[in-house]
């Protein structure tokens, strides 16, 4: 059902883009929508991150899998249970770049109706890594359509990505990796009944949208060729605030572009914000030093305290008269 709604939305978006490009609304799809999408993205992301920044830092939750720093002669693991900033940076890098905690993923299964079996399950991790890294590399490769002259690092990136020199235009490894990973991630949600039960519209929609983006991109590169000179003119024009509308660009490009604009505009409202959110995971970005450092809750009311020293001063004479022992004497 939720897959159905997502599919209907995608089909509607496709129809809007194709009809729009067909009747020559190039200015809308080539200039207005991209600028609006970028504005929504930037404002939305800044708004949400600032909102997060206003939240107090919680008490450290040491969900660790390594020995905590304690006595000198007990060997500690500073990556799995960091006690200082350096360790935290290391753990964050492992998390952000290599999805360390997903690598620990386990699967629970009932075998022969009676035996409960736990096993390591790396498939989601592998699919996630393949998808995210391919997406990043493809995004960076696209910078050649946004800037002029094409930077050296983009050339290097596409040289590495086309390493196998298969076909012409040379097949990019990431193009096929991302399609394979997306197919896996989608089938995983649809075929596993437990996962299907907890999947929501906002799980399916971005997945299908990105599948649409990747498919149209692959189509344009390998099968239905488009005039990329004009497309670069449009891209660089947009990002230098002198929009140019080239003539005769294939509607397939406008479809690809419209999907991307939809994704960008949808980004701040969706779970895609985990791009920024991952950096704010309390169990990852806080050092495990609860005992070494005192945590003060920012919303604690100020407690008026009356120390023994103050008490003794106040009742000094009375206490002395009663013959009570005094610290000060």
């Amino acid at each position: 059902m939720k897959v159905g709604i997502s599919l209907v939305v995608i089909v509607l978006l496709t129809a809007i883009a194709l009809v729009g490009a067909g009747v020559g609304l190039n200015f809308v799809f080539g200039v207005i929508i991209p600028y609006a999408a970028i504005a929504i993205f930037l404002i939305g992301v800044v708004y949400r991150v600032l909102k997060w920044a206003k939240a107090p830092v919680p008490f450290r939750i040491p969900t660790t899998s390594g020995q905590q720093k304690s006595l000198d002669w007990i060997k500690n693991d500073n990556l799995e249970s960091p006690h200082n900033t350096l360790g935290v940076i290391g753990r964050m890098l492992l998390e952000v770049l290599f999805f360390r905690s997903l690598f620990r993923n386990t699967k629970t299964e009932l075998k022969d109706n009676s035996k409960l079996v736990y096993g390591s399950s790396k498939w989601l991790w592998a699919g996630g890594m393949a998808f995210h890294w391919s997406f990043l590399i493809i995004f960076l490769r696209h910078f050649k359509y946004f800037v002029q002259p094409t930077p050296k690092w983009v050339m290097l990136l596409q040289d590495v990505d086309s390493f196998f020199q298969i076909g012409l235009p040379i097949v990019y490894i990431t193009d096929f990796l991302i399609l394979a990973a997306l197919t896996f991630l989608f089938l995983r949600r649809v075929m596993d009944s437990r996962l299907r039960y907890m999947s929501l519209l906002n799980d399916y929609f971005p997945l299908l949208l990105i599948i649409g983006i990747a498919t149209t991109g692959v189509l344009m590169r390998y099968f239905i060729k488009v005039d990329i000179i004009s497309i670069k003119e449009l891209g660089t024009g947009l990002l230098s605030f002198h929009p140019i509308l080239p003539e005769g660009v294939n509607p397939l490009f406008y479809l690809h572009f419209f999907y991307v604009c939809t994704l960008i505009a949808y980004f701040p409202f969706s779970k895609l914000m985990h791009m920024g959110g991952v950096f704010l995971s309390p169990t990852r970005n806080l050092a495990n030093n609860n005992r070494a450092k005192r945590h003060i809750n920012p919303w604690n009311p100020e407690v008026k305290v009356h120390t023994y020293q103050e008490y003794e001063e106040e009742f000094h004479d009375v206490m002395k008269a009663a013959g009570l022992p005094l610290d000060k004497e």
Partner: protein
């Protein structure tokens, strides 16, 4: 405790990185400049018209060149017939570069513009450069 300072620093770094195309274009000032290609042709009969229509060549020339390579190398099929019956030898250096004799002002213009680095020239020479004695 609040981490607002660190989060805002991170956010600013993100905004600088994500707006890279804007300031890169502003610094270089070359955005939106369409490459100017010189389409050199020969005014001899049968040579002033390309083997396929220009808009097809613009998007699909790489497929044609690749197809020619396979047909020549694997099937010794060296003649290409256009739709209006003209015949051409399937050859990059002898046919394509015979008319478009200005690789720098023709091929390279667009290829450089969109960051395409074709490996044609790993094996092929440019006859005009060869004549001039340029390696």
């Amino acid at each position: 405790m609040f981490d607002g300072g660190k989060i805002i620093t991170g956010l600013i770094i993100f905004l600088i990185i994500i707006t890279f195309p804007v300031w890169y274009n502003a610094v270089n000032g070359q955005a939106g400049e369409r490459p100017e290609i010189e389409i050199a042709t020969k005014d001899t009969p049968g040579k002033n018209e390309c083997v396929l229509p220009a808009d097809v060549m613009r998007t699909d020339h790489m497929d044609l060149v690749m197809q020619w390579r396979d047909e020549v190398v694997r099937h010794d099929d060296r003649t290409f017939k256009t739709e209006n019956g003209r015949e051409f030898t399937k050859s990059l250096t002898h046919t394509c570069l015979d008319c478009h004799s200005n690789k720098d002002a023709f091929c390279d213009q667009c290829h450089n513009y969109v960051g395409v680095d074709p490996y044609c020239w790993d094996c092929h020479i440019v006859p005009q450069d060869f004549e001039k004695g340029v390696k």
